[in-house]
Amino acid sequence: MDSNSETYILEVENLWKVFAKDKIECNLYDAAAVGKLEAAGGVVAVRDISFKIKRGEVFVIMGLSGSGKSTLIRCIPRLIDPSSGRIMMNGDNVSEMDQEQLTEFRRTKAAMVFQHYGLLPHRTVLENVSFGLKLRGVEQKDREMKAEQAIEQVGLKGWEAHYPSQLSGGMQQRVGIARALVQETDLLLLDEPFSGLDPLIRREMQEELLRLQEQLHKTMVFVTHDLSEAVRLGDRMAVMKSGEFVQEGTPQEIIMHPADEYVQRFVQDEQKIALMMEQDNKPSNVRTLPVRSGGCSDKAVSGTRR
């Protein structure tokens, strides 16, 4: 194993996902052929995307709905099978795994948090959190002990015996996060986890996630449509539009130097805030742009405005 694959935990190379009725046989790099595919009703959801994520890094993929960001994140554990491209995780080639290896990968290497929680309505909080361990065949006693710990980590102690329908949205997503944490995977995949929550709760959950990240140093791929969320959470981020990365960099780079007019439109509000901050020279009231390297800090995002 070379040093390169040690620093990068996840490497995605030239990933394509084309939804089409028939099997795709054309060369995806032939623009005319792809155009033909699209004309025939095919949809290119992910278009030749490559990125690398370091261990302990939070990588945010931001884009509007329909930009392909949810498809992209689902391609990593192959909930959606990519049409072409390579996914390397810790030196293992995910894209070439057979069904058995893939199941093992999903059980031990990557855990996912969903926008719509995806909790089992007929199971209690405790059973939901220990669900992944049950699938792995962990003994009931052991898995419940681990689940208890994860439930405590996300601040739901005392709710173990409740059912998801008895919980508020924010609490349900805490269960979703606990269910992912209990897997003790290196990689966490979060698909718009806080988009369904109201703004105050969303803010609270973001801070919760930063707090957890400070303890756990997970590697995260975080999908969102909310720029302020991306800025608050991301070490690095990419802006996605119709299946492509328009720009990739640190949140600061993207806000200060938007690559094109599309990104510019996204970030103009954030720029205004930054400008106001300079004029007023009152950084305590206004959110500062977090400049984080390595470990993240709550203080960088402790502004009151969202």
Binding site: L79, T103, E104, H116, G118, L119, H122, G132, L135, R179
Partner: protein
């Protein structure tokens, strides 16, 4: 008038086919017939062995577990008593034993095939028109092949009843599994569920309310068919109705009809209540 030259009958072919079937597979049918009748006699003995007061207590106990309501607990037991008071106790137990055997067989066939329909679209496309046909066909039609293959008596009655009662549970099993939320299934897959684990841990438990509704429907269909099957010698309450109809004995017909209604009410309430208890997907605060 339709031209006579265009007349064409399939009846002889079908009759010949059934004759051929009987000729070649006769022993198999007999063996099936004998084992089924043995089971049924055993069950009937078992049902009659339980004294009437134990029946009443048992039904009150179950109703109480389900409803927690005094009136709804006592009423089914009182209704059951009226069957005995009309002198139809033994006959009702005979009917009940046919229903039990038919429903068990219908579930053994219906639930797995419903699961197969949910898992495979191809199986679904094959079964859907068959089920449609089975449900639109008048129930009397099922009596004919059953009668031909198994002669008169309880066995053809059970066969006809099973055919008639399978569709609801099969359809509702299929529907229930297909209706399980995609996002829950996706989450289970993301955590490494195998297809079997997905079925066992997620799809079947979440389809349970629908499956139980199917079981309830199947049971009610079986009861209806058992009455009709008295025409081919099923015995039981249906026979009483049949005899009363033939003799224009309005009173006798009413008594037997009443007993059937009572059975229907009790079975329906109990199975629906049990389904409600199982319905763990809508737990409210």
């Amino acid at each position: 008038m339709f031209p006579e030259a265009l007349e064409y009958h399939v009846a002889p072919y079908i009759s010949n086919f059934v004759k051929w079937l009987l000729h070649t597979c006769g022993p198999a049918f007999d063996a099936f017939s004998n084992s089924l009748i043995t089971i049924m006699v055993q069950i009937e003995h078992g049902l009659l062995f339980i004294p009437w007061w134990l029946w009443a207590i048992g039904i009150m106990f179950l109703s109480w577990r389900i409803t927690r309501h005094i009136g709804k607990t006592i009423l089914p037991a009182v209704l059951l008593m009226t069957i005995g008071m009309l002198g139809l106790w033994d006959v009702a137990m005979e009917t009940l034993s046919i229903i039990i055997v038919s429903v068990v067989l219908a579930l053994i066939i219906g639930i797995p095939s419903g699961i197969a329909m949910a898992v495979s679209n191809r199986v679904n496309t094959v079964f859907t028109p068959i089920l449609d046909a089975m449900q639109t066909m008048p129930s009397f039609v099922y009596l004919i092949p059953a009668l031909m293959l198994f002669h008169l008596g309880k066995v053809p009655a059970v066969v006809a009843t099973v055919i008639y009662a399978v569709p609801p549970v099969q359809r509702l099993t299929n529907l229930g599994i297909r209706q399980v939320s995609e996002s829950v299934q996706e989450a289970a897959l993301a955590f490494g569920a195998t297809p079997w684990q997905l079925m066992k841990e997620v799809r079947l438990p979440l389809a349970m309310p629908s499956i139980l509704a199917g079981i309830n429907q199947t049971t009610m269909m079986a009861l209806a068919m058992v009455v009709i099957a008295s025409m081919i010698g099923a015995g039981g309450l249906g026979e009483k109705v049949l005899v009363a109809t033939n003799r224009i004995d309005v009173g006798g017909g009413f008594e037997a009809g009443w007993a059937i209604v009572v059975l229907a009410i009790i079975i329906d309430r109990l199975s629906q209540g049990a389904a409600g208890k199982f319905d763990n997907t809508n737990i409210q605060r």
